[in-house]
């Protein structure tokens, strides 16, 4: 051990701090051999004793009773002690209760609203089924079919497949029969759709007796499998599609639906 190393340890040695036994032994050896470091350690020890004596002398000191009296007077004043902790504890329960009440109210409103709309839905559900073969054969037929398919879309049977359940839009559909090619008007005036695209080998015989169209949402990448361009930045989004089901429940065709951009 050299003097520099001893210097760095002098404080710890003088304060009697714990250190590695080997380091301590080296330090003691160096102290015995070096008078300068020995003197330095002696000074440090004197300082430690002085500080310790000062600490002991001041150990009995404390603030005058007047400080406590002033503090107690302040403590007794209303509003000085702010019991925020209990409030914070109760707050979540309070919020939970409010949230539960709101949930119940909204639930009741939803039930009442559905009940008031039920007759209309029933009417919609009785609309004639789709003449599926016609839709796929010609564009004009498709347009007409699309209009009638919309009625089928609103059938309550397909509610779990996200059908459009708003029957109020039905009267507006009649005016949307004549549309540009490849932009078939849908039940809503703000939608455009592609042609129906066959899924596998179409057997028109299975559509003789009618069919159903259900509105579904599929990954955007599904469009790519039909040859449509897909923006890869939006590949993980979902896109609406109408699936034409035969009477046997087998899907025969699909078309993709998109919101019409407002002009």
């Amino acid at each position: 051990m050299n003097c520099q190393k001893f210097e760095s340890l002098a404080t710890e040695l003088a304060r009697g701090e714990m250190m590695d036994v080997d380091v301590l032994a080296d330090a003691r050896v160096h102290q015995a051999a070096c008078s300068t470091c020995s003197s330095r350690l002696r000074d440090e020890e004197v300082l430690t004793r002085g500080l310790h004596s000062l600490a002991i002398e001041m150990n009995s000191l404390q603030a005058s009773p007047s400080v406590e009296e002033r503090l107690l007077a302040s403590f007794r004043q209303p509003g000085v002690v702010v019991p925020l902790a209990p409030v914070r504890n109760y707050r979540p329960y309070w919020l939970t209760a409010v949230a539960a009440i709101l949930l119940i109210v909204f639930g009741l409103v939803a039930v009442v609203w559905r009940g008031s709309n039920k007759p209309k839905n029933d009417l919609v559900g009785r609309q004639p089924a789709v003449e599926a073969p016609k839709q796929i054969k010609t564009d004009n037929d498709e347009k007409n079919v699309a209009t009638s398919q919309d009625n089928a879309v609103n059938s309550p049977k397909q509610s779990k497949l996200k059908p459009n359940r708003n029957p109020r839009e039905l009267p507006a559909k009649a005016a949307r029969v004549n549309k540009p090619e490849n932009a078939v008007a849908n039940h809503a005036s703000n939608e455009v759709a592609t042609d129906f695209l066959p899924l596998g080998y179409l057997n028109p015989a299975s559509l003789q007796d009618g069919g159903q169209i259900v509105r579904v949402e599929v990954p955007r990448t599904t469009m790519a499998s039909f040859g449509f361009p897909v923006n890869m930045d939006r590949y993980n989004e979902r896109v609406k599609a109408d699936v034409l089901l035969g009477i046997d429940g087998v899907p025969h065709a699909i078309r993709f639906v998109q919101e019409k951009r407002s002009q």
Binding site: E44, V46, L51, M58, L71, L72, V81, L84
Partner: protein, 205 residues
Amino acid sequence: MKPKTDLTDAELLRLMMSGDEESFTLLYKRRHPSIYRFALQMSGSQQVAEDVTHDVFLFLMKDGHVFDPNRGSVSSFLFGVARNYVLRRFRGDQLTVPFTESEDDEPLEQVGNEPSPIEELTKAEMIDNVRRAVLSLPERYREVVVLCELQELSYGETAEILGCAIGTVRSRLHRARGLLLAKLRPNQEAEVLSSAAVESARCFA
């Protein structure tokens, strides 16, 4: 249910914040002496020490909810608040300590106060010199000496209060002790000389 005197500081603080005066009194009696001494050792003024003690516990009444037991003990929290108030005093009131000294290693000339060698040997004189030397230290060294040496807190507790690393505390303390030795050296030399003179006299007697 255990008596309140057996409750921890954090438990007393929680009760105090719910308006329990007895808990406040217990916590005050338990913790105020060290806070008072810390402020006194930092400032050298009893008036300042009392004001700081008052302000610290008033802060505890109003903002005790900011105490986070995960970040340290109530004691460390109170020391930290006290330190802020003391430093605010230093900067706001331009409080001057008895000796205006830079952080250089220059010996403190006034410390000796020209006492006789016999007087220097007295313990009271030595303590007074140490107290003056501590007060003459720059703030960042003084607070480390006060906390580690006079309050006898661990490096970890001191680092918690000062909001710095343990290594920083260690190095500051080393530096502070070097400064203290430089300030006290004339006295120590005189002490050693006077001791040597006494021993010589005994030898010759």
